[in-house]
Amino acid sequence: MFRLTDKPIDAATLRAELENDAAGASVTFEGIVRNHNDGRSVLRLEYEAYLALANNEGEEIVRAAREKFDILGATCVHRTGGLAIGDMAVWVGVAAAHRGEAFDACRYIIDTVKHRVPIWKREFYTDGSVEWVGCAGCDSPHAG
């Protein structure tokens, strides 16, 4: 399951939804807004998404993870809108019989989401400046 939300992510509920008696492993990843990026002091940030394509791509990534890895369930939820330092930006959870597949699938999902899903981060810095991350005329495609 993949979802975008403009509300705070409720990790406990998401984790509970993945519970499965056949699962010996549960691996979760929480992406948190930090107070610095590239040596600059960050105050807050905003995420903007191209909703239709982001949902299509996100669903496809979770589906591909279930096909590639021997897992029982996988969920990814990503925030949109304004976030403060310490807020959860993205949550990934994977349930599997064994830890190896659970770790690998979780890593695959977050890495692929950062690479493919059309979500853009706009950082507001303590010095008053604002920037779309990875878009300042740079030519490194899809910097994550």
């Binding site: 998404a49 394509l53 977050i110 950062k114 690479h115 059309p118 853009w120 779309w132 899809h142």
Partner: protein, 285 residues
């Protein structure tokens, strides 16, 4: 022996779209321009010829062999040491001995099935060439919408020894069947961007695509979407147009493209009503 036209001895008729021009005055490849439904005009011309010819070929330069605009069309490349459209015509006749060619340039926006039917009906296979004279241009012959009989190859080459390489001048020196069209608009070719704009406005029927902007592009374009005319520009051309118009700093190498909510390749061809999004580098997670 009779010189009257005789259906039973007329050579089989093949079609040839002339698409090898450099389009210097237009500034964009004329073969790729689309006047209707987003279909590149070289392809549209090939479709029109297919209705009245046994087979259809495209005359193109060697470097157009893998041009996506001409993908799937049979091609004939130039084989003679002469410039311009004459090379394409001679090369086609040389490649298919015994066949006549209905030749049409790819830059005739108003070329129609009716015009081609008039040409085929007026064909005199006993003449070297069946060609329209243009009442809008002092009855000049228009050899880039004409039927070339197999004999043209040798007769034209004989005339060329006198230094002629312009198809109109060669036609004037040969025994040709002249046809006078009722409405000569279809003989107008589009050489300049203004010609294209005018013809596009008359023919396109208002076909458009919607461009949507996100993140830095939305901020820089100061809009979240707009409708633009579907004029056959490639996705790369469209990005370049928007990049210049709105001052996008990102080069195309760092941008992806989506059509109707799915990632697409830069080679994709737009259809009327498509929704197009240029995707700046993503930064989720």
């Amino acid at each position: 022996m009779s010189t009257e036209p005789n259906e039973s001895v007329a050579a089989p008729l093949y079609g040839l779209v002339l698409a090898g021009g450099r389009s210097r005055r237009m500034g964009r490849d004329k073969a790729a321009l689309a006047y209707q439904d987003g279909v590149p005009h070289a392809r549209r011309t090939a479709d029109l010829l297919a209705a009245v010819c046994e087979r259809v070929f495209v005359s193109c330069r060697a470097d157009q062999e893998s041009d996506p605009t001409l993908a799937g069309l049979d091609k004939i490349s130039d084989h003679f040491d002469v410039g311009g459209p004459l090379n394409g015509i001679l090369s086609a006749l040389a490649a298919h001995p015994g066949k006549a060619f209905l030749v049409a340039a790819c830059d005739l926006p108003f070329l129609s099935a009716e015009a081609l039917a008039t040409l085929v009906a007026g064909r005199d296979a006993a003449k070297t060439l069946t060609v329209f004279e243009n009442p809008l241009r002092d009855n000049f012959l228009e050899p880039l919408c004409a039927i070339y009989e197999p004999e043209y190859l040798e007769r034209a080459r004989a005339v060329m020894t006198q230094g002629l390489t312009c198809p109109t001048k060669i036609a004037n020196a040969l025994d040709v069947e002249r046809l006078r069209p009722d409405n000569a608009l279809f003989l107008d070719n589009a050489n300049h961007p203004e010609d294209f704009e005018k013809a596009f406005a008359l023919l396109s029927g208002g076909a458009t695509v919607t461009v949507e902007y996100f993140a830095i592009f939305r901020a820089q374009a100061k809009r979240s979407s707009e409708e633009i005319p579907l004029d056959g520009a490639s996705l790369a051309d469209l990005y370049e147009r928007m990049r210049v118009r709105y001052g996008f700093a990102l080069t195309r190498e760092s941008v992806h493209v989506a059509i109707n909510d799915a990632y697409a390749s830069w080679d994709a061809v737009l259809r009327p009503g498509d929704r197009l999004v240029f995707i700046p580098p993503v930064s989720g997670g």
